[in-house]
């Protein structure tokens, strides 16, 4: 993955960092900061960056320490929901002379704590951007998701980046992320010197990732909507990490859909995952899932039912042409990789991934 990125922005002439002593810290090379560094994407990306000799230092912002933090990493404990986080972030960014900030601090599954999620995602993004305005940031990479396009019967089969984000704005999970993306777009318009890259990933699937999709698929039986069988699209976790690495290595301003090749009908996904689908009439499904969500028995709030009904598939052509990103796993391969790991987990040959 790293070897594919052929053009390092700064020539990697710095000697490999000798671990341990802070005085030996190389001053040349790039400094990357990650928010949400202890979550899935941050944790794994941290591991990749640790191994990249062109990256001099890494600053990890999170409330807990990521276990992949190595000698190059400085962990800064920041709680984005507190108002003082802005100051802390700015200080750390200045002190470490960060040139690339990767904003991954978004929830991968909907939560009942919507107020907290709003503080974290929407307000947290504001804090991060305010901190970024104070320092001379060269690049900002942000994680977004293709589900924000929303599932509509009027969607084209392949949504391009030009398509407006039309996810249900009543749902906090979508609304906060869309607000965050709006803020980042406003930031990119105002601060001309900063390269802003937004990567919209398809739902992530793979052996270790944990989110609402894996929770849906790991059920024994799951609701589907009677008579609807939309096409789904997945992205393998490894491809997602590769895309972020690529966005860090190359300067590609803009918004990109990062998706796996191919689509699968929901019914095939269910069959492959060994899921018994329980078809529900779509008019009844909303109240039913709403009730189950209220008592915390459903993986997702009822607003996610649209994705069981209509298509929401994005087109990855722009990422292929501009970024040079090609996924290594197709949608089907990502799914079977997840299923393989899930089987091992069922047979207790593989431990659960860290949440």
């Amino acid at each position: 993955m790293a070897s594919r990125s052929s053009k390092p922005p700064a020539p990697g002439s710095s000697p490999p960092p000798s671990p341990g002593t802070s005085t030996d810290r190389p001053t040349r090379g790039r400094v990357v900061a990650l928010t949400g560094a202890a979550a899935f994407l941050g944790r794994n990306l941290l591991g990749l960056l640790e191994e990249d000799p062109r990256i001099a230092r890494i600053v990890a912002f999170d409330i807990k320490t990521p276990e992949t933090a190595g000698p190059k990493t400085r962990v800064v404990s920041v709680d984005l929901t507190s108002p003082s986080s802005e100051q802390r972030l700015a200080e750390a960014l200045v002190e470490e002379q960060v040139d690339t900030l990767v904003h991954l601090c978004f929830l991968s599954s909907p939560t009942h704590a919507t107020a907290w999620a709003h503080e974290l995602e929407s307000i947290g993004t504001m804090h991060i951007l305010n901190a970024a305005r104070r320092v001379n940031l060269r690049k900002l990479v942000m994680w977004s998701q293709t589900i924000l396009y929303g599932a509509h019967p009027t969607n084209p089969n392949f949504l391009t980046e030009k398509h407006p984000l039309r996810a249900d704005s009543e749902e906090h999970y979508f609304a906060d992320k869309m607000a965050a993306e709006r803020e980042v777009n406003a930031f990119s318009v105002k601060s001309k010197g900063t390269i802003v890259t937004i990567l919209r990933t398809a739902p992530l699937l793979g052996p270790t990732v944990h989110n609402y999709v894996t929770r849906y698929l790991s059920q024994r039986a799951a609701f589907t909507l009677l008579g609807f069988d939309p096409l789904w699209q997945f992205l393998h976790e490894v491809d997602a990490l590769a895309a972020f690495k690529l966005a860090i290595d190359r300067d590609v301003p803009g918004t990109f859909n990062i998706v796996g090749d191919g689509v699968l009908p929901l019914s095939t996904v269910a069959r492959m995952a060994g899921l018994s689908s329980v078809p529900v009439l779509h008019t009844l499904a909303g109240p039913l899932i709403g009730a189950l969500w209220t008592v915390q028995a459903a993986a997702t709030p009822p607003s996610f039912l649209r994705y069981l009904r209509y298509i929401c598939v994005a087109d990855g052509t722009k990422a292929a042409q501009t970024m040079g990103f090609r996924p290594m796993y197709s949608t089907r391969e990502a799914l079977s990789d997840y299923i393989g790991a899930q089987r091992l987990r069922d047979a207790q040959l593989l431990s659960d991934p860290p949440a």
Partner: protein, 474 residues
């Protein structure tokens, strides 16, 4: 989630494959296929928790082929090297799989019937477990060479069929007991009933049926060739016997490259014109080109309809989809009348409605695609629409509720179209090459060109109508 339930999607293919390998080896060793990438992938993905014993298929191989492995136990590992690498077509493979499944089902039926009477059922494993023919018919022949064979097949089969298979395995692993039919029969009987009664068994059967009826992968617009294949007899019947479709000027559709077929839409609750147009091009065109037609949005609000149309080759009508299809060099059919065309009343039949905002003209200008006008005559009498009720539209998600001579009266049966005689005529190709792609933004031009195309289709329809003597016999 239980292990077997998950397995049955992917692993079933693997099992089938092994079995197909086994039977082929028995009958025609040359037709054997060694590598099918996808299935190989699945089989390796499954390997860690798959059966560790050699499968029945590999054992069969080891009987027939030269003994390259140290023993039967090594057969599984040497399977890859043993297989000849002559390729076979997917159709051939599919036929073999289907054949084997039929045989399997038959053997399962036999097994169940036989286990009712102790003498006959003595040699069976669990009632539901597919047994290799050698062990079922000539137990003593198979016996001498492989005492492990029984264990292996029982184990393998047990794990794929979703039972724990412990009771089924024990009698087979002890060769001496199998000589006494009575004893083995009584030992088998209890294993049979729970397996048939367990929900796992039905779940697995259902899962397997479900996967067989769909293709490995739908195309990027959701078209499923296997699904279409399943309905093919019905479409053949509709095309040849029911509507007796007659096609004129099929040669005007180019042999390759992008092309936009523009037709008149027929009114009625279920428009069959897209489906029949697709069938016509597929059957009559010298190159058997695949046509995708663009369907109205409202179809996708409806349960079943949207999914079904999608699997059969319809694509939602929008500029993005059409452009993507055309730039891939596909043949696309469009009905510019849209919903207005479907909701045409019987008295307005064959009078082309307004052509929307000329989206198809813009499309053609932008992508430099030639247009082929097309008249579909006969379709507009198949579902004569007498009246449309437009009050319930929001509630039901349909643009109108159709009233035909038989529709709400006969219930769903009222949706059956009348057996009119159809004629599909293709006109001369229309090129807009003299205008550049920028012309797509010129509203006046688009409107003028749209009107021109509408007039030419109307003329084509009128001409075909004039040549028709009867609605029913053409």
């Amino acid at each position: 989630m239980s292990e077997h339930e998950q397995r049955d999607g992917a692993n079933e293919e693997e099992t089938e494959r092994r079995e197909s390998v086994a039977s082929e080896e028995g009958t025609a060793p040359d037709d054997l296929v060694a590598s099918d990438d996808l299935e190989e992938d699945i089989s390796t993905a499954v390997a860690p928790i798959g059966p560790t014993e050699p499968s029945p298929g590999t054992l069969e191989l080891s009987h027939d082929g030269p003994p390259s492995g140290p023993g039967d136990e090594a057969a599984a590992s040497s399977r890859g090297s043993r297989m000849p690498t002559s390729p076979a077509s997917p159709e051939e493979l599919e036929r073999q799989i289907l054949e084997l499944e039929a045989r399997l089902d038959q053997m399962m039926r036999e097994g169940r019937g036989a286990s009712a009477q102790p003498e006959g059922g003595a040699r069976k494993e669990g009632g539901a477990s597919p047994v290799q023919p050698t062990s079922a018919t000539s137990p003593h022949g198979a016996h001498g060479s492989s005492s492990t064979s029984g264990t292996a097949s029982a184990g393998d089969v047990g794990s794929t069929s979703g039972s724990t298979s412990a009771p089924g395995r024990s009698p087979r692993s002890e060769p001496p007991r199998s000589g006494e039919p009575g004893a083995a029969g009584t030992a088998e009987a209890p294993a049979d009933a729970p397996e048939i009664l367990s929900s796992e068994y039905y779940n697995q059967r259902w899962g397997r049926d479900g996967m067989r009826r769909r293709a490995e992968e739908v195309d990027e617009y959701g078209f499923d060739p296997r699904y279409e294949e399943r309905y093919r007899p019905l479409f053949d019947f509709l095309y040849r016997r029911y509507f007796r479709v007659e096609v004129e000027g099929i040669g005007r559709i180019p042999n390759e490259g992008r092309c936009l077929v523009v037709g008149n839409h027929s009114g009625g609750p279920i428009p069959y014109d897209g489906l029949m147009l697709r069938a016509a091009v597929q059957r009559e065109h010298p190159r058997q080109r695949e046509l995708r037609w663009l369907a109205e949005d409202f179809v996708y609000y409806l349960p079943f309809a949207g999914t079904m149309m999608n699997r059969l080759g319809a694509v939602r009508a929008c500029q993005e989809n059409a452009e993507r299809l055309l730039s891939a060099g596909k043949l696309v059919a469009v009905f510019p009348e849209g919903v207005k065309g479907i909701s045409k009343l019987y008295r307005d039949r064959y009078k082309l409605q307004r052509f929307g905002r000329g989206g198809f003209i813009r499309l053609s200008l932008r992508t430099r695609t030639p247009l082929v006008p097309c008249a579909i005559v006969g379709a507009e009498e198949a579902n004569p629409l007498l009246h449309r009720v437009e009050h319930l539209t929001r509630l039901l998600g349909v643009p109108y509720v159709p009233i035909t001579p038989i529709f709400p009266a006969l219930g769903p049966l009222g949706l059956v179209p009348a057996p009119t005689k159809w004629k599909i005529c293709f006109g001369e190709k229309i090129y807009f090459d003299e205008y550049g792609p920028d012309a797509a933004d010129d509203d006046m031009l688009v409107s003028r060109l749209s009107e021109r195309v509408r007039a030419s289709i109307q003329a084509l329809v009128d001409r075909t109508l004039a040549g028709r003597r009867s609605v029913w016999f053409g």
